[in-house]
């Protein structure tokens, strides 16, 4: 690991990514932020500088465009200590069901672009470093309410699992984070319940995971047990329960 640690946060203006970045900033990290909206990126960067980031560089990139990969890989330079791929959208399942183009766009943003970025950035991660991507509990089972989003998150899960096997001999940890419901702008339209977690709680778990863990982590941790049950249910039961 270099000192200060050099960290890429792609999708840096998401509420969860901001909380992760704040924790690296407090440790004096050198941060590279990528996101679509320059004004939001600058607002995040100012926050991170005030909190103690050694430096903070912004890359404006739209992840639905393939060239954003080159842009970010170029900005990252030859070596980084950790990368978090944190972008995503939550499509309205009912609204896109009959619209193949919309489904394609949703898979592009939530799966293809993440996978492409993970493959491209992997060679730049230093030994002992971590490549992390945000999956979702939604990727563990296909549910009527969000199977397009779920399919994209499942793709991330399987891809990262394979990449983990490939990079393990090189001493690089590959981490998939599966958050449950988080109270963020992405879920603004959803009715909240007791299982909703704060972005800060999820951000803290991801930061901790990126420093020490590999494999799959659920955030908050109680989702591990909920999903253990849900993953083991036969499809017929899942459908009957309407989960």
């Amino acid at each position: 690991m270099s000192v200060p640690a050099r960290i890429l946060i792609a999708g840096a203006t998401s509420a969860i990514a901001i909380e992760v970045a704040r924790r690296f900033a407090a440790e004096g990290a050198d941060l590279l932020l990528a996101g679509r909206d320059p004004a939001k990126l600058e607002s995040v960067a100012r926050d991170l500088r005030a909190r103690g980031a050694a430096s903070c560089q912004n890359v404006v990139a739209d992840f639905s465009e393939p060239r954003s990969v080159d842009l970010i890989v170029g900005a990252a330079g030859p070596q980084i200590d950790a990368a978090l791929l944190a972008w995503g959208t939550l499509p309205d399942q009912a609204a896109i069901e009959g619209d193949p183009d919309a489904i394609e766009r949703a898979l592009m943003v939530n799966a293809v672009s993440i996978v492409a970025m993970a493959a491209a950035i992997a060679p730049q991660i230093s030994r002992g470093g971590c490549l992390a991507a945000i999956g979702s509990v939604a990727g563990d089972r296909g549910r009527r309410g969000n199977y397009v989003y779920g399919a994209a998150k499942a793709a991330i899960d399987v891809f990262m699992e394979g990449l983990r096997a490939r990079l393990e001999p090189e001493g690089i940890r590959v981490l998939t984070i599966k958050p449950g419901w988080v109270d963020t702008p992405m879920t603004a339209a959803m009715k909240k319940n007791a299982l909703f977690a704060s972005p800060a709680a999820v951000g803290a778990a991801i930061h901790e995971g990126m420093k020490r863990r590999d494999g799959v982590i659920y955030a908050p941790g109680y989702w591990r047990w909920i999903m253990l049950v849900i993953r083991s249910m036969p499809g017929s039961l899942l459908r009957r329960l309407g989960i």
Partner: protein, 428 residues
Amino acid sequence: MARYESWGRYPRAGEQRTVRIDWRHEPPALDGLAPVLPRGMGRSYGDVCLNDGGTLLLTRGLSGMIELDRAAGLLTVEAGATLGEVLPVLLESGWILRAIPGTKHVTIGGCIANDVHGKDHEREGSFGCHVESMEILRSDRGLVRCSRDEETELFEATIGGLGLTGVILSATLRLRPISSQAVQARRQSFDGWNGFFDSLEAGADDDYSVSWIDASSRGIDPPRGFHLRGSHLPDGRGAGGSRALPAIPMPPVPMTRATIRLACAAYYALQSRRGVTEESFESFFFPLDRITGWNRAYGRRGFLQYQCVIPPAAGRAPVIEILRRIASSATGSPLTIAKRFGPRPSLGLLSFPVEGTTIASDLPASRENLSLLDDLDVIVRRAEGRVYPAKDARMSGENFRTFYPRAAEFQRFIDPRFSSSFWRRVME
């Protein structure tokens, strides 16, 4: 986060729509949503954070720091950031906020809108005394920058303005340098009413001071309690400041006179024996934050907190009378504190702190206690004191307007689309 209730869980509000604000440069559309009320952590006790039938404008997404000038001690921060998020960064840099209230789970915007005070009021005044400037978003004027020199009237109205003058997007605060994050705490029991008042009025040699008084028992005479003083350690040593203490869930305890008396006796016995200790910042300032969900101990009916201030001219008698009445209520109070407000004037038109003795007391919400508090209002009114809106769930409009004679003047600063359950209750 699903339920939008106040900390006292009394009164309850019906349906409230919500709109988030996540970026200062992306104002939310408020068309068709009136009336709107900004809401941070919902830690005010009564109904200043409720907007029954209206819309809550959720500000927690605005949680970023904008600039921390470590040399000059100036922090510019978004208004939805909590003290718990900001303080660790400040403490690491050798600075602290002034007028820190009893919980870190409050937003900067909430601290300004309620012009909160801390254990340092005698020396430092209220939170608003340390605000240099603000960015306020109004439905009629858009973004307004205000400070002590610019848009001064709106600036002052917004301090203690109960969130009604527009939504505060960010604020610049003047910080205080500290020698250490750790605090030396000294507890001293007092004897009788004279001892109680003497310790309150002993002057502000320490950074922080507050008194705990046992108001759980009808036999309050002579009163039992202790005075807690604290000062930052001089030399940078001592317990880590921002270390999070393990949280303890509130145990389910029935709130009866017997359990409340027992709890107060145990608390007094433990605390008064501790004498002088060195404490981490967290344990000195936010002891109740360790007990998650303590407000739920009062059950479904919730609880009332009564906080009033009695000016020095009224003498000691009203303070004693109020404490006696609280102690002889149906259950007594599980938590009553007193402290001295210093002479530094608050800026806001509706700011609560004025020089004098303030009492804050928790009581279960019940018909008897509501009527008790009406009686206490009469005492406060006679003493020309006032009751704290941030804690209030029940004072009459007439009393509010007497306590806050500038309420009528304040009205012209209210954003035309903004209102709250509290404001409608006391002004309509």
